[in-house]
Amino acid sequence: MANLLEQLLNALALAGLLFLVSAGLSLVFGILRVVNFAHGVFYMLGAYLGFTTVALSGWFWPALVVVPPVVGVLGALLESSTLRFIYRRPPIYQLLLTFGLALILEESIRVLYGPTAKGVEPPPLLQGAIDLGGVLYPRYRLFLVVLGCTVGVAVWLFLSRTRAGLVIRAVAQNSEMADCLGADVARVRTLVFGAACALAGLGGVAAAPMTTAYLGMGINVIVDAFVVVVIGGLGSIGGSMAGSLIVGAAQTWGAFYLPETAMVIMYAVMGAILVFRPWGLFGEEE
């Protein structure tokens, strides 16, 4: 029983982290129709900036508040200075551009921070483990579960209940029609791209105490995020949640119960989705 609880929490904590990354990836695709290869690097940037903020201020919480907007603004600037001009070109241009941005950002981080991974301590409140009925469980992972759920609900409420959310959904559905109806599509795209990068940055700050900030963490996470988005459906926040839970569970339970096939399980689920429901669990058929 205690063991089952631990397995459940492990899956939820990983899912929380995956959701923060994949939600932005999914949003950007839904609204900009761009597969953003640079998304993982914004996650990595979040982790490194988180490290810097903690090192400068001595506190973890400011990092969680300050870093996501910074990453978001940088993302918005990059969108409006590069990506904006090539939306009408074939998708391969956007792929190449975001891939190039990813390489430039990653190497810049390496030059600035050096090759050594940067460890970030969780805030004192979340250090150590607590006893949950016979299971010693790290407090920080419980925080990740809460953070993932909170952000998920907040993004969902924003998109479904606010006027800005309505405009975003309209652009996602038919950008030309939304343009005719007076929505500033270019601005919506920039803001959504920035918001998605901010979410990735938040994910990076949250991940740093668990995985340290290291080179390659962006590429490492983007593969999982793509799987999440394929399973859940591109452009759907609910899909990102469901996908994150499925991938989180497949990875942690797979590693525990069927170690030799842990990686296979995740891709098998993705393969099955692609065959039987190519638009994903929550996506819309096009």
């Binding site: 090759p115 991974a117 460890g119 790290p138 992972r141 668990m210 290291y214 080179l215 590693a255």
Partner: protein, 398 residues
């Protein structure tokens, strides 16, 4: 492309490739050039950067007298950690720059690829980083020299230490690729031979970012220690997370290589971990104390394993070229075989039979010391070269 065009291109390329070999002899009295096709970018850049740091210090130390009175020139190339790129860059160094000595190659996969070309190029490959046992066994040839402690030698030092320790039950966690699986295999053999028990093994994929499931299993196994054959970053993440789960207190982490790079990233969560070190900078010899000081003056940090190993290699190479009285590759090889060198960590001997340097092996523990800004390796045991070096051209021990 028509056949004739193809022949023209191929002929031209062949001429271009062979010509510099003649040119090279004509320029023989210029500087002695050492080529370093190292991974300076990508996820293994930390090791390439260590090799370069060592070379920078060596270049400064030797500047006044040179080798054979000739200046020494280092030429760096970035391989990104990719074997095909490493071969291409090494070929450029040999054929365009006229380098006769290659070193600083980071990954064993790159080393195997580059080393295989050296007999054809007639240049010396000096390994100061590469761990794969095969390099001095199955893949051995006359132009390859390994100055560093190999992977099997490191594993041997840890096993010798554990055989004497009170720990009885072990869990083995190795990354799911050749090095991880090989290390867990040889660890299991040696631990079983020491009448101790391996109670579980697991092979997480390279790049695992969540070790929670493995941590749960290790805890359930009630092992005394967990043997980790995880590459740098994976090890960092494992140690960090095991610490958060409170596991490091219950199950002692044992690492095939215990490096500063990890200690800096993991911090206090790593204190108590034990393992082997190819070169612990805390070795107390006069020569090493002086080296650590010079290194710290130049770079502002303490030398990691491959800073030390690469510096030793370069110094030994200079000594051997001096002894040969020429930088002629064949004569240098003859002078190097069965020669001795006083390294930073103790005496070195280059075996003629497989060009593996016989040298001391270390078991170390990660400890805190207020004199240093990060945890440091404390030496638990030193084993003489004969005990930790495998039988000639094998990966086995007698």
């Amino acid at each position: 492309m028509r056949r004739r065009d193809f022949l023209k291109v191929a002929g031209g390329a062949a001429a271009g490739v062979s010509a510099p070999i003649y040119l090279r002899t004509a320029w023989a009295q210029g500087p002695i050039k050492i080529g370093m096709p190292a991974a300076l970018s990508g996820s293994n850049a930390q090791y390439g950067i260590q090799a370069r740091r060592a070379a920078e210090l060596f270049a400064r130390d030797i500047k006044a007298k040179g080798i054979l009175g000739r200046p020494v020139e280092f030429i760096y190339e970035d391989t990104g950690g990719d074997p095909a790129t490493a071969v291409r860059k090494a070929q450029k160094l040999v054929e365009k720059d006229g380098v006769k000595f290659l070193t600083g190659v980071v990954l064993s996969s790159e080393a195997l690829a580059v080393s295989a070309k050296c007999p054809e190029w007639k240049v010396v490959f000096m390994s100061t980083i590469n761990g794969a046992g095969a390099l001095t066994a199955k893949a051995f040839h006359r132009y390859f020299f390994r100055v560093n402690t190999s992977g099997p030698m490191g594993a041997r030092a840890v096993s010798l230490y554990l055989a004497e320790s009170p720990m009885k039950r072990f869990f083995a966690l190795g990354s799911d690729y050749a090095w991880g699986r090989d290390s867990v295999g040889s660890f299991t053999t040696q631990i079983t031979a020491a009448k101790k028990e391996v109670v579980g093994t697991d092979f997480p994929p390279v790049g695992t970012k969540d070790f929670a499931s493995y941590i749960a299993k290790i805890r359930q196994s009630r092992a005394d220690g967990v043997y980790l054959a995880l590459p740098g970053q994976d090890a960092t993440i494992y140690l960090k997370q095991a610490h958060q789960f409170g596991l490091n207190r219950e199950v002692k982490p044992i690492m095939e290589i215990l490096e500063l790079e990890n200690m800096k990233a993991v911090g206090d969560a790593m204190v108590g971990a034990i393992g082997s070190s190819r070169y612990p900078f805390t070795v107390d010899t006069p020569k090493n104390r002086d080296f650590v000081k010079r290194f710290h003056d130049l770079h502002g940090i303490y030398p990691d394993m491959f800073d030390g190993e690469t510096y030793e290699g370069l110094e030994w190479l200079a000594q051997v070229i001096g002894k040969a009285g020429t930088d002629d590759v064949e004569k240098v090889i003859d002078a190097w075989e069965d020669s001795s060198y006083e390294g930073l960590e103790g005496p070195f001997f280059m075996r003629k039979c497989d060009h593996q340097a016989v040298q001391p092996g270390f078991a170390v523990e990660c400890v805190k010391d207020p004199k240093y800004p990060h945890p440091i390796p404390r030496i638990l045991a030193t084993y003489p070269g004969e005990k930790v070096t495998p039988k000639c051209r094998t990966e086995e021990f007698s």
